[in-house]
């Protein structure tokens, strides 16, 4: 009942909302021109309203594909059936809105290509993330068999120490999978002795240990081929490693939505699956515009204040 009322009021409400919002922006500009301080809580309120409005309106915007993301896609596309891929999910629920779509899309892609995935994590919270991603991937592939199509070796504490050991000997650190089954009895891990034995490594992470550490402690010593999915914040600092030390990178939800787009272009069956990252892009763009306005307002206010000061002096 309540839902029906809100939906019925939807259009009216949304017009009312945006008009009020525009008026609010006008007020903000007026405050800036007259050189008055705006309290930060008001800025918070505006930010919340902008994003809420955009989420409720459900804006979806097109994304453009870029090479750096396409490289990851093409590498997986080029692998053949039965090849093994290592997927490391080094994030926690806080980074999940950005990174889970990547993990999901890469898993879907690999399972569609009949590749075998070994999941691992360097973050204590990553174990729960692996459970979630496998559950998401199983929606489209309900017949996956544990041990034959994928496996989960779980978490080890020790950050760089873990990476440096698995670069040369995977089983020293992970003798068994997450529930104590020896890796020898899992066909996914058959013949995998170190990281370089995986045809491709995809590290999806948002901090330390994360992609930077994968490059430093696995790619450099073992020469493994790696692609990555990075939180938007760490993407700029990872550019020095591209393309020599990692052949592709998905940066933030933009990268994830590009990957989702490519996946749906090549495999239309995924069109019915929820494109989580693409949903984020619309509200995000709206928020960008708002932030640019804020910066412009702030500078107008600053210059006018300086001019006033200059005139009075």
């Amino acid at each position: 009942m309540l839902l029906a009322v809100t939906q019925g009021l939807g259009p009216v409400f949304s017009w009312f909302f945006w008009i009020t919002f525009a008026a609010g922006l006008g007020w903000l500009l007026w405050m800036s021109i007259t050189g008055r301080e705006v309290e930060r809580r008001i800025i918070f309120l505006f930010m919340g309203l902008t994003v809420s409005g955009a989420v409720l309106a459900g804006i979806i915007l097109p994304v453009q594909e870029t090479t750096v993301v396409r490289n990851v896609f093409d590498t997986i596309e080029g692998l053949s059936e039965g090849d093994r891929v290592l997927l490391s999910l080094d994030y926690d629920p806080s980074g999940a809105p950005e990174l889970e779509p990547m993990a999901k899309a890469v898993s879907q892609h690999c399972f569609e290509k009949k590749l075998k995935i070994c999941y691992m994590t360097l973050w204590g919270t990553g174990g729960a993330m692996i459970t979630d991603v496998i559950a998401l991937a199983k929606v489209d592939f309900p017949d996956l068999v544990y041990g034959d199509d994928y496996c989960n070796v779980g978490y080890r504490a020790g950050n760089e120490a873990v990476l440096r050991v698995i670069a040369s000997d995977f089983r020293k650190t992970f003798p068994t999978d997450v529930s104590g089954t020896s890796l020898d009895s899992l066909s996914v891990m058959n013949g995998i002795l170190n990281c370089a034995d995986f045809k491709y490594i995809v590290a999806i992470g948002s901090g330390r240990p994360g992609i930077k550490e994968w490059v430093e402690y696995v790619v450099e010593p073992s020469g493994a081929l790696m692609g990555s999915g990075a939180a938007a914040v760490s993407a700029p600092q990872l550019y020095p490693y591209y393309p020599q030390q990692m052949n592709g990178m998905m940066g933030g939800s933009k990268g994830a939505s590009e990957y989702e787009k490519m996946l749906r272009r090549v495999y239309p069956k995924f069109k019915s699956s929820r494109a989580q990252a693409t949903e984020i892009m619309g509200p995000q763009t709206v928020a960008h515009v708002f932030l640019m306005l804020l910066i412009v307002f702030a500078n107008i206010s600053y210059f006018l204040a300086k001019k006033r000061k200059g005139a009075s002096a």
Partner: protein, 271 residues
């Protein structure tokens, strides 16, 4: 009754009310349904409690903060125990214990007692300071610090020093050069064009070098050296600007994720 009692009780009643609203007894698996309802309601409440900090510090935020601290510390202990101790150390130390924990015994290795001993030494920190035994934990500290310092040296040398130099030095100053005349007659400013490629290589090489000059410590930044260092600061500022702009994107998407949860899963206003 004072406020200190009233507010918590009222909150609990409201919480239960919201759980009941969310409950959907149609399903066959009732425990599962209850967990679902609890999960979504708790998620919504806790999200709002954290957001209330934006207005000002308050009791709800304090509650969420303290709950978070307690739960997460225990979380890390459990995860660490089951992953590294139960799966890595114990299967090499004790057959009976590893079988009790459901792990296959992987063969006895005596020197795995060393890290266990070092770990226990670390826990002497928890004893009262008056026992004067805490100093022994420095052995473990020394071990931890030294092994990462060792790893850091070679990893940084390979990945962040040598490899970065190699990637920079392989950029030609005149890429795809076919002669000056050709360069002028086919001059264009397209993104894939030769001029942009050349310009980019120059920017990278000069940028890296001037940035390094800025980090020079043992020379006064004056004269030409100071001017190059000034350029270095600008390069760093462009970098910071780019990083800032790109980061905004990530930050907003986290908020979008949270609000989507609130509107979709909790309040159910969008489909």
């Amino acid at each position: 009754m004072n406020r200190k009692v009233l507010i918590p009780i009222a909150s609990i009643i409201v919480f239960i009310g919201f759980v009941l609203l969310k409950l959907d007894w149609d399903g066959a698996d009732r425990t599962h349904e209850l967990w679902e309802a609890l999960e979504v309601t708790a998620g919504g409440f806790l999200t709002l409690m954290i957001f209330s900090f934006l207005y000002k510090d308050n009791a709800f935020y304090k509650f969420a903060e303290h709950l978070y601290v307690g739960i997460s510390a225990a979380y890390w202990m459990c995860v660490g125990f089951w992953s590294n101790l139960a799966q890595q150390a114990i299967p090499h130390l004790s057959q009976s214990l590893s079988e009790a924990l459901g792990q296959p015994f992987l063969g006895y290795i005596w020197h795995y007692w060393i890290p266990v001993a070092l770990g226990l030494i670390l826990l002497t920190r928890l004893l009262p300071e008056s026992m004067k035994i805490g100093w022994i934990s420095k052995w473990t500290l020394a071990f931890i610090v030294a092994s990462t310092a060792g790893l850091f040296i070679t990893a940084n040398l390979q990945a962040n020093f040598i490899a970065q130099i190699a990637s920079t030095m392989s950029l030609p100053l005149l890429p795809d050069w076919t002669g000056f005349g050709d360069f002028l007659s086919n001059f264009d400013l397209s993104y894939e064009g030769q001029f942009v490629k050349m310009f980019s290589n120059w920017v990278i090489i000069i940028g890296v070098i001037s940035g390094l000059v800025y980090f020079f410590f043992s020379k006064e930044h004056t004269g030409w050296f100071g001017r190059v260092s000034r350029l270095g600061i600008w390069v760093l500022m462009v970098t910071f600007g780019a990083a800032f702009g790109y980061t905004v994107m990530g930050r907003v998407s986290l908020l979008v994720g949270r609000l989507t949860f609130l509107f979709r899963d909790w309040a159910g206003v969008i489909g």
